[in-house]
């Protein structure tokens, strides 16, 4: 069964450093999303991406964040200058154009020290 993959599984970085989290959505999906989950809390929407542009973003997704689909398979989330409060699990998700069902990847645990 096709699945969303994410790399790395765990990223440790120092405050102020840039990080790039990578995702490979399911191949025929057209909607792509990033969510984050701070330890012990609920999953929060960050950004959605469709037709090569951001379609929606939350208040969390400020100027320090950016997304890119550099080729036909990868979808990346970049945090320009990480803060301690960026420490969380980051999930990528994708869905087909006709369905609301989103398929989630296993997540990347980001630890900012």
């Amino acid at each position: 069964e096709p699945e969303v993959t994410q790399t790395p599984s765990h990223q440790v970085t120092q405050m102020g450093q840039e990080v790039i989290l990578r995702c490979v959505p399911i191949s025929n999906h057209l909607y792509f999303y990033w969510y984050r989950q701070i330890l012990g809390q609920k999953v929060e929407f960050l950004v959605s991406f469709y037709n090569n542009e951001i379609s929606e973003k939350s208040e969390i997704f400020d100027d320090q964040f950016s997304v890119e689909r550099p080729d036909g398979s990868n979808f990346t989330l970049k945090i320009r200058s990480t803060k301690l409060e960026d420490s969380a699990m980051y999930f990528c998700a994708s869905s087909e154009w006709y369905s609301y069902e989103q398929y989630f990847g296993p997540g990347t645990r980001l630890t900012v020290t």
């Binding site: 999303y33 969510y35 609920k42 379609s55 929606e56 609301y100 069902e101 296993p106």
Partner: protein, 112 residues
């Protein structure tokens, strides 16, 4: 602001019993809801969905009930098994990009 929330943070049931997990929502305009299961260290996994024009939907061992009058939905798991132990989230779909708004989750523990 609008939110989706859950009544109880934890629920323990005996193996073989039925489980009921509840969720309340506040957005009257919500018209599509999804239940997700999240096992430790994994991403959320789709369980079942329901549209606002339905009151009930059944899947394999799971049933979702929607009461629009009181803005409440529930997930019923029949004959709960150890593999059902996980955190369960309800979510509603909103926005032009169909993003999910998640509730805070209920940890289901299945006792032997």
């Amino acid at each position: 602001g609008e939110s989706v929330g859950l009544h109880l943070p934890t629920l323990s049931v005996q193996e073989g019993d039925n489980s009921i997990i509840n969720c309340a929502y506040s957005n009257s305009a919500s018209d599509y809801f999804i239940w997700y299961k999240q096992e430790s260290g994994k991403g959320p996994q789709f369980i079942i969905d329901i549209r606002s024009n339905m009151d009930k939907r059944q899947g394999q061992r799971v049933t979702v009930l929607l009461n629009k009058t009181v803005k409440h939905l529930s997930l019923q798991i029949a004959a709960t098994q150890p593999g059902d132990s996980a955190v369960y989230f309800c979510a509603d779909v909103s926005g032009s990009a169909r993003q999910l708004t998640f509730g805070s989750g209920t940890q289901l523990t299945v006792l032997p």
